[in-house]
């Protein structure tokens, strides 16, 4: 009970440590989702609209990658970025950039797989009309992404949810360095193990609030958009 009160006090007094952790968490997760969207949306569209040998295998693999274990991704990125790894000279290990890279790897398959499904369903519906209108390939992709935008927002939200809640990968490649790579999830893990429950609970409350607020905003955006466009 006392921990809960202290946690609320940290939030209400805008504790600088707590704010810095929240800020870094949002930067890392939103950056990862943005990069993953840039890769995943066109990739999903490409797989949805093209037919090639082994396509079904690619779809199964993409779906399977949605369940990538974060610690395994963290380990792989760690090996790539460690001093003796192929990308070691870049000096990115234990930086926010490494955390963004790890989360991008986790989020891209989620966005790509969900986008592929959304765009493929829409393509089945639009195929005859767009073909009859002689719409070119790039214009088709743009049309399908635009007309599927409200469903694709859900794909981005799923990606953000994965990134925001993830701890295994970023703790390995970020190192949980105080004031530099400490995010909400890594801080919660650390503070809980240290017995500093107020900060852990406070961060947990903020994390849940952020996820709820972003999902609610996206839901209202989707509803408003559907009223206008459908």
């Amino acid at each position: 009970m006392q921990s809960d009160t202290s946690a609320l006090a940290l939030i209400l007094t805008a504790d600088p440590t707590l704010l810095a952790i929240v800020r870094l968490s949002l930067i890392v997760s939103l950056s990862a989702v943005a990069v993953a969207a840039l890769i995943g949306l066109p990739l999903g569209a490409l797989i949805a609209l093209t037919r090639f040998r082994g396509r079904e295998g690619v779809v199964v693999l993409l779906n399977a990658l949605m369940g990538l274990p974060p610690v395994v991704v963290g380990l792989a990125v760690y090996l790539l970025l460690s001093r003796s790894g192929p990308l070691g000279p870049l000096g990115l290990l234990f930086t926010p950039a490494a955390m963004i890279a790890a989360q991008t790897i986790l989020v891209t398959p989620i966005i790509a797989a969900l986008a592929r499904q959304t765009i493929e369903d829409l393509w089945t519906e639009y195929h005859d009309e767009l073909t009859a209108m002689n719409v070119g390939p790039l214009h088709r992709i743009a049309t399908l992404i635009w007309d599927g935008r409200f469903s694709l927002i859900v794909a981005l939200l799923a990606g953000f949810g994965r990134a925001a809640a993830e701890v295994g990968a970023i703790i390995i490649v970020g190192g949980n360095i105080d004031g530099f790579t400490r995010t909400m999830t890594t801080a919660i893990a650390l503070e809980t193990s240290k017995g500093d429950l107020p900060l852990a609970i406070g961060l947990g409350m903020v994390l849940i609030a952020i996820v709820v607020v972003i999902n609610a905003a996206a839901w209202f955006l989707r509803r408003a958009g559907e009223r206008l466009a459908r």
């Binding site: 519906e125 639009y126 009309e129 073909t131 009859a132 209108m133 719409v135 214009h139 007309d147 206008l228």
Partner: protein, 240 residues
Amino acid sequence: MRAMPADLPIRFEDVSISAGAVTVLDRLSLAILPGAPTVLIGPNGSGKTTLLRVAMGLMRSSAGRVTWDGVADAPPFRRAIVFQRPVMLRRSVEANIRYALKAAHIAKDRHDARLAELLSLVGLDGMASRPARKLSGGEQQRLALARALARDPSVLFLDEPTASLDPASTKAIEDIIRAVATRGVKVVMATHDLGEARRLAGDIVFLHRGRIVETSDALAFFASPQTAEARTFLAGELLL
């Protein structure tokens, strides 16, 4: 009035389409010429929709040859089709038409004028900002017609354009078809509705089991059909 339309005549030379063991079109030869609407009639499964899709260039024949003004594989720049259940893009009425104008590479400075003209032609003025998917079935058909006409087609294919519509919506669609045909656009239409065929057709193509059984001037066809199949069909009896 338009001069000799591009893409016409459309010639089918011994065209067959097979789907597995089923023959959908069977060695079909036909010339679609400029002039009054050509109406395809025949029982379900006779090949009307497939014929329209091949004529539009949406399907390739398994055998035989199709040419548009003498050219095989001519891209559909001057052809347009309205499907039996047209799909509305998830945007407004206006945006649907603008999309078609853009896809048809109509100069952008002409878009506003064409939009107003098309909305007026199909009777959707005042509905430009409505979401297309919230229109009634008849309104959606009229929007699909406007979208097809945005391509400034020389040939317009219509697949059962008034199926499932109430009489008022059917009349609205038929009026648009007449207006379009009067402007020189060749209309090729499939219908189940013999009354509609009588009202609109300049000539009739009667299909059964993927074959053309009879082609004729519409008045002559309805007055004195030449084949037993056509007589059976016009009598409203089941044609097996």
